[in-house]
């Protein structure tokens, strides 16, 4: 299988700056809870949406608002300065559960562009990257330092190129990110357009694949009748 260098992806000047993720500095909201699932991040009211935009109102709704829709005054995102947070710091297994991308859309629309946690659920992580939102995994001791900075209301910086989280006191905490995700975020790549560059490879694969499994190739008579009345 060919393995061309990533630099063969065109780094066109036409990619708008807002598509690229390079670095982010801002207030970090502490959410010291494990297993914050996507049902909480984007509750079902958001699942009724038919567009990607404007979902920030429902972000973490059960934590932010009470049953009557009033803000819970002690919740971190309802307090200064975290009301304007650009980062979120949480505990293990952030984003577990439902595959709903609404979780990433709601975070982004609220203004949060990076989540720092010891671990993330896989689908959520993919959803973030597709929306130019950076999941930053940090081992527990480093995470605790960032959590303390967040609780102190200090600004936290995430630098993707250098792969470090910088705290106000000068500490630089390195983090892991998949090279492909990093490259795609830095370059602001449109995944579909990028994949379509390999359409010949897809066609060649289909030729081989359907020679092997001809029963998967066509549209059967049964399938032709499947559309609703």
């Amino acid at each position: 299988m060919s393995s061309p260098p990533m630099s063969d992806t065109p780094m066109s000047e036409a990619v708008p700056a807002e598509r690229r993720f390079t670095r982010l500095k801002g207030i970090a909201a502490p959410l010291p809870i494990a297993n914050v699932n996507t049902d909480i991040i984007a509750p079902k009211d958001l699942m009724r949406a038919v567009t990607r935009k404007g979902l920030g109102w429902g972000l973490l709704r059960p934590y932010r608002f009470d049953g009557e829709g009033r803000e819970r005054p002690d919740f971190v995102l309802n307090r200064e300065p975290w009301r304007h947070a650009a980062l979120l710091v949480a505990h293990e297994n952030f984003g577990c559960g439902s595959s709903r991308e609404h979780a990433a859309w709601a975070l982004a629309d609220f203004g949060i562009r990076a989540v720092i946690a010891p671990s993330f659920a896989e689908i959520f992580q993919n959803n973030c990257i597709k929306n130019r939102l950076l999941p930053v995994p940090l081992p527990r001791p480093q995470l605790d330092a960032v959590m303390a900075a967040a609780e102190a209301g200090e600004e936290v910086e995430v630098a993707l190129e250098a792969q470090v989280v910088r705290l106000a006191d000068g500490r630089a905490l390195p983090f892991e990110v998949s090279p492909l995700a990093r490259h795609r975020l830095l370059a602001g790549i449109d995944d579909i357009a990028d994949t379509l560059r390999y359409e010949d490879d897809i066609l060649a694969f289909e030729d081989r694949h359907f020679r092997d499994t001809p029963w998967l190739a066509g549209r059967t008579k049964i399938e032709e009748k499947t559309h609703g009345s």
Binding site: M1, S2, S3, P4, P5, M6, P32, I33, A34, N35, N37, D39, I40, K44, M47, R48, A49, V50, T51, R52, P62, G67, H91, E92, N93, G97, S98, S99, R100, E101, E122, I123, N126, N127, K130, N131, R140, S178, P179, L180, D191, I192, T195, L196, Y198, D201, I202, F205, E206, R208, H209, D212, W215, L216, G218, I222, E223, T226, H227, G228
Partner: protein
């Protein structure tokens, strides 16, 4: 198909290798997607973006749509009987599938049902395929030896446009279960016990293969239950090697290969097993004979104990942060440490979901309910996983037994598993549920969910509280 490799491979390796179109520098691969299932909630934004970009669906014949998450389940439902915003998504799904030429099983179609129930029963799900769907329980299909993964909406759009998915190979985890499950103990109890052991993030980054004599002895329904819950341990996918049980299940299904194609397919499928000396990154073994009927007490599927047990005490927590998390879960669930599980009363019982709404599940429920009555304080819903399951249960007399016992008998759909339709818990209502998630608010804001097996749910419905189904006289 790639050339035979000298290296011993796992089942997952074999399916993965057969679908790689190209490999990127960092090891990520462009994978071909054989089947793409679409439903109303996570697809509208994908179709909209496709339309905006002037793109088409690359392989409509590999794409199948069905409405399941927010359709009403009340008997006699019509296009107009759902909730307003749900109706809008249903209308969009119909319009989008028509516009892009995709097969769509609508509400009245005899093939309608939960996407992860109808894929197998129509024979769309087959060994060795790659399957994707914008739903986290897509690993369900892995019970057939498929590589099946849940994706987000941007990936739905990517698959619609390119028939491919960009992924890095996962690590591998084999979960071996040996020994015979006790009478009244089901695949659901087994998977809850496994998740309790390894944790809700225990398999993150891994593809799990379920293996061992217990798994080989399970029906397809039981295997689907196991695989469906793989995501609740964080796994990307769950897989089970196909065998004669698998092939017999598929034979004659409408979308399965027919005639000589079926024999050719079985020949190919027979090679889909983990080579004897292939290595997994991790292995976990469980003695199925020791598994008891399980009940979750908290708000994560790994908050689980045997029905004979008690609500745990945060004071006995050992890991950092564990005590706080337990206290939070207990407060939400309105439970006290040390309380006996069997003393917890239930208000509602929900039997349904992609984990437990197949014919075998309903037979198990009927076996418990036959000749008995649902406790008058309890509302119990039975929601078949598909229109086909519903018809079959009616033909077998299961529906009559359940209705006679006082269970509500509904139309097929996701129903109260997710509460995206009119079926949901009220604040503070406590539910014994055969579904897969006990998250805060999952079945309705401030609803309290306890995950159990179908026979355990039936027993709770009759008793009005949790009870070990094995102690009910037949």
């Amino acid at each position: 198909m790639s050339a035979p490799s000298p290296r011993p491979r796992t089942l997952y390796d074999k399916v993965w290798d057969a679908h790689v179109i190209r490999t990127y520098e960092d090891g990520s691969c462009l994978l071909y997607v054989d089947r793409h299932f679409v439903f109303e909630v996570t697809s509208p934004q994908a179709f909209e973006a496709l339309r905006d970009a002037g793109r088409r669906v690359r392989r409509p014949q590999a794409t199948f749509a069905v409405a399941d998450h927010n359709i009403p389940t009340l008997p006699g439902r019509t296009d107009d009987s759902g909730e307003a915003d749900g109706r809008a998504q249903l209308a969009l799904l119909r319009a989008n599938t028509a516009e892009f030429g995709i097969s769509y099983f609508d509400m009245k179609d005899p093939r309608q049902g939960i996407v992860h129930v109808i894929g197998p029963e129509l024979g769309l799900t087959q060994p060795g395929l790659t399957i994707a769907c914008g739903d986290s329980h897509t690993p369900t299909h892995g019970a057939f030896g498929a590589y099946a993964v849940g994706v987000g909406t941007s990936e739905v759009e990517h698959i619609l446009a390119t028939q491919t998915l960009l992924q890095k190979p996962a690590r591998t985890l084999r979960i071996r279960a040996d020994g015979r499950l006790g009478l009244g103990v089901t695949a659901k109890d087994l998977i809850l016990a496994v998740i309790g052991r390894i944790g809700a993030a225990g398999a993150t980054g891994h593809v799990v293969e379920f293996a061992g004599e217990t798994v080989a002895g399970l029906s397809m329904e039981g295997r689907l239950t196991l695989s469906s819950m793989a995501i609740e341990a964080g796994a990307r996918a769950g897989m089970i090697a196909p065998d004669d049980t698998t092939f017999a299940y598929l034979k004659g299904r409408p979308f399965a290969p027919q005639g000589t194609d079926f024999d050719r397919a079985v020949e190919k499928w027979s090679h889909l097993f983990t080579d004897h000396d292939a290595e997994f990154d991790r292995e976990v073994a469980i003695d199925a004979a020791t598994v008891e009927p399980m009940v979750t007490w908290g708000t994560s599927p790994d908050d689980v104990v045997p029905v004979s047990g008690r609500v745990p005490d945060p004071a006995r927590a050992t890991r950092p942060g564990e005590a706080e998390a337990m206290a939070r879960a207990l407060s939400y669930m309105r439970l006290t440490p040390g309380q006996r599980i069997a003393d917890i009363p239930v208000d509602k019982v929900f039997i349904g979901s992609c984990t437990n709404a197949r014919i075998e599940d309903l037979r198990a429920v009927a076996a418990v309910a036959r000749g008995r009555k649902v406790n008058p304080r309890v509302t119990a819903l039975v929601v078949p996983g598909s229109a086909q399951v519903k018809r079959r249960a009616e033909e077998e007399g299961i529906a009559a037994i359940l209705k006679e016992a006082g269970f509500e008998w509904r139309e097929a759909g996701c129903s109260m598993c997710i509460g995206l339709n009119a079926d949901r818990l009220k604040p503070g209502e406590r539910c014994a549920s055969t579904s897969n998630r006990n998250f805060e608010g999952r079945q309705g804001p401030e609803g309290l969910t306890h995950l159990v097996s179908p026979p355990m749910a039936a027993a709770a419905a009759l008793a009005g509280h949790f009870v070990d189904v094995r102690t009910l006289a037949p």
